[in-house]
Amino acid sequence: MKLAGQLVAVSAVTLLLPWAGCQYARDIETTLRQGEAATLLSTARLLAAAVAPAAGEFAAPPTRWRADRARSSDLYVHTLPTLPTLDGFVEDWGPASLQAEPHGDMALLVARRGVFIHVFVAVPGTAPPAAVSLHGRDLRVEFPLEAPGAVSGIVQGASPDPRARGDWQATSAGWQLEARVPGALLEGRLGVRLLNSAGAVRATTFGTIPGWMTGPDPAAQAALDALAPPGQRVFLVDRTGFVLAEHGPPRQSRPDPDAGWLERLYRRVLGDRIEADPPPAARPGQLSGRHIELAALGVSDARRYALPGGSLLAAAAPIGGRQAAEAIVVVERDTAEILSLTGRPTRRLLGTSLLASFAAAAVLLGFAVLLSLRIRRLRDAAGEAVGRRGEISGPLPNAQADDELGDLARSIGGLLGKVREHNLYLQSLGGRLAHELRTPLAVVRSSLDNLEAEGAGEGPWLGRARDGVDRMGRLVNALAAARQIERAVTAEAHQRFDLAAQVGEMTAAYQALYPDRTFSFTRPVASCWLDGAPELIAQLLDKLVENAVAFAPAGADIRLAIEESGTCWRLSVTNPGSRLPPGPSARLFDSMVSERPADTTPHLGLGLFIVRLVAEHHGGRAAAHNLADDAGVEFLVELPKAQGTLPGRA
């Protein structure tokens, strides 16, 4: 991983900033919500205390709450806004939300209109019974189901009552009955029994003991309207949550239309999960939830419920006794406005901290780029500091810097300095060795000369000693020569000349010099102008040709050529009959490297070293490679063309 990438990864840590902001906003939100809940709860308690004196007017009698009574048979009596037609169908009862509710196998709906109680009964999937019996507290009203259509109620199985009427229909699902009974007959209770033709009770029955009917209570409504603060949604409910009175705007649950993406993100991450219970299941006319259950036991409670698109804060306070509430006051509030209250600061906080994070990441990225640039420059400089011949280039970048990179540059510089000293030592070693060896050689040589002159040179030994000394002398000369050549090369003056003309001239000379080889020379038509030292180029070509002749068999064809290659002249000498040794070909051009087979004359591999020196002195380069098909070896020298105005053709 590159340094820049690493730093960017590290800069991801700054994302903690918005996260911390979210946590902070969440804390604020929690505190606000707790405060709101407390406020709501105290409102509920105050209301409960205020309503308590009137509770006697609407509270159900204590017998209703007897422990042995089954609450499941209690029914809620809705209020009908209009008088429906008795036609066996429930659809004309008013609000669409009024639907028959399942009670066991039966679907039931009870509503009040004036003094009448309307009852709708349906039992899907069964044949109609002989009669449907509606039980009040003391009396019962039977509706015999003969032919579908209007039916009349019979009170206590004997006297038909014209006020009790109904209408039943057979449907694809079974049958259904819509009936209307004076409320006075039922006296606030209702049980439903299905009777067969023999008058026996069929299994499907609702409320073996007739259950209590609870509905909106005018007294309760009056008490609530008198006391409830405006704008608040307040309910008066009984212990089971049946709504006795309702005040204030209805519940609304819709997403905040102003929510931006940041806020939605915030809600998604944190908001809606804050201490919210799952939404309470409720039937029309009935409130439910843990707060109702607790209040029914005499404990005030406030809690928050998650609703689709928002949340609901509800507080419940019991009215009356500590052990059993006569009624319960419920105050509700949709809490979307809380979120939107904190939403704007939250949005700003989130936005600002995200911006700060990105800015920090950008700054770090820039810094990383700068840092890696510096490191890269140092690396490149260090990599190029040591040239091919071991020479060391100038100072490294960053060496002035105060930081660790500066330290690094300085220590690399120190290291390179040592390498430079060592290289200088090695470069001068040859010359110094040659110098030191020459004096003892001179002693031996002059001694041998004296011996010979004195006539002591009997036997072959003197000659052998002389041969040895001569050979050693040549070695010593060669040792010094490399250094000397380098000096000579740099001292040579440059001029502009035609390379092709010179090589052509020299090819003719080589032909004369080596009659047993064939030389050929290919050149461009135009003059090949070069800025350089013709002497040195001649020396270079001498060495290349010498080399080619040494490796080519007698009669071989040695080809010289000049080609144009971009901004360079490419001078090549090709000889058949040999191949380069394996390994890097650049090594061939070092001094003291010879790949010739050992023979009697010492050879120190200076020839190709001179070639390289001269080529590099002219800003070019030398290379060697085997020809395809093992046809021989080609030595190449690339020399930059002369720049600027060229003289006309000579």
Binding site: R438, S446, S447, E454, Q484, Q502
Partner: protein, 233 residues
């Protein structure tokens, strides 16, 4: 009376060997190991020829100093430098010390003796009358083989013995190409090609100092050099 040669050389074995060879040939020899010692002795009496090593004991270039002082006293005294370093050639040339020759210590004793003999011959010739017969003329070049003296347009370029013989070998047969080996043989020296090249370069420089348009020594690439007669202006 036999000639007197002084050898100033810090290496005892070489000094003795050279002295033995000179004595055998019939010269008288004095030997010195240091510059001071030699100068003191030369105060009393100058030798006929001095062989000087460039580096003298503690003085790496004491020979140059000695040469300068000797030239100041005796402008015509023949001086031969012996050196273990090739680079000294350039120094000697650059300093224009006026040495008659400089040689590496590679040189064999017979070659050295031949040079000394040549220098003495020149000394004799200088004292005798000039003989037009012995002078080789090629355009503006005049070579006096007896006096081992070269002139270009009447001026002395100050060639050393080695350089004189190289010029002589070239100028004797104008137009003929002499390769490096032939030049080495003519100059009685064993040198590598690069040194011959630098000798020729120095010769050119010396002539160019007199005549900037000098171009008589022509390089024949790949072969050697030749004298271009009449090419010079």
């Amino acid at each position: 009376m036999s000639r007197h040669i002084a050898i100033v050389e810090d290496e005892a074995a070489i000094r003795e060997n050279y002295a033995d060879a000179f004595r055998r040939t019939g010269y008288r020899v004095s030997m010195f190991a240091a510059r001071r010692e030699a100068l003191d002795a030369f105060d009393a009496r100058l030798p006929d020829l001095v062989v000087i090593d460039v580096s003298l004991g503690a003085e790496p270039e004491g020979g140059f100093e000695l040469c300068r002082e000797l030239r100041a006293r005796a402008p015509r005294l023949p001086l031969i430098f012996l050196t273990a370093r090739d680079s000294d050639f350039d120094v000697v040339s650059g300093l224009r010390l006026g040495a008659d020759d400089y040689l590496t210590k590679d040189i064999s004793l017979p070659h050295l003796l031949a040079r000394i003999a040549a220098l003495f011959r020149r000394l004799e010739a200088l004292t005798g009358p000039a003989d037009a017969q012995r002078v080789l003329e090629r355009g503006q070049l005049q070579l006096d083989v007896e006096r081992l003296e070269a002139r270009w347009a009447g001026q002395d370029p100050g060639l050393t013995l080695t350089e004189f013989w190289i010029v002589h070998a070239l100028a004797r047969h104008p137009g003929h190409v002499k390769n490096r080996q032939q030049l080495m043989d003519a100059a009685h020296v064993v040198l590598d090609d690069a040194t011959i090249t630098s000798h020729v370069k120095r010769i050119r420089r010396k002539f160019e100092a007199i005549d900037p348009a000098f171009g008589a020594i022509h390089t024949v690439y790949g072969l050697g050099y030749r004298w271009r007669d009449g090419a010079a202006t």
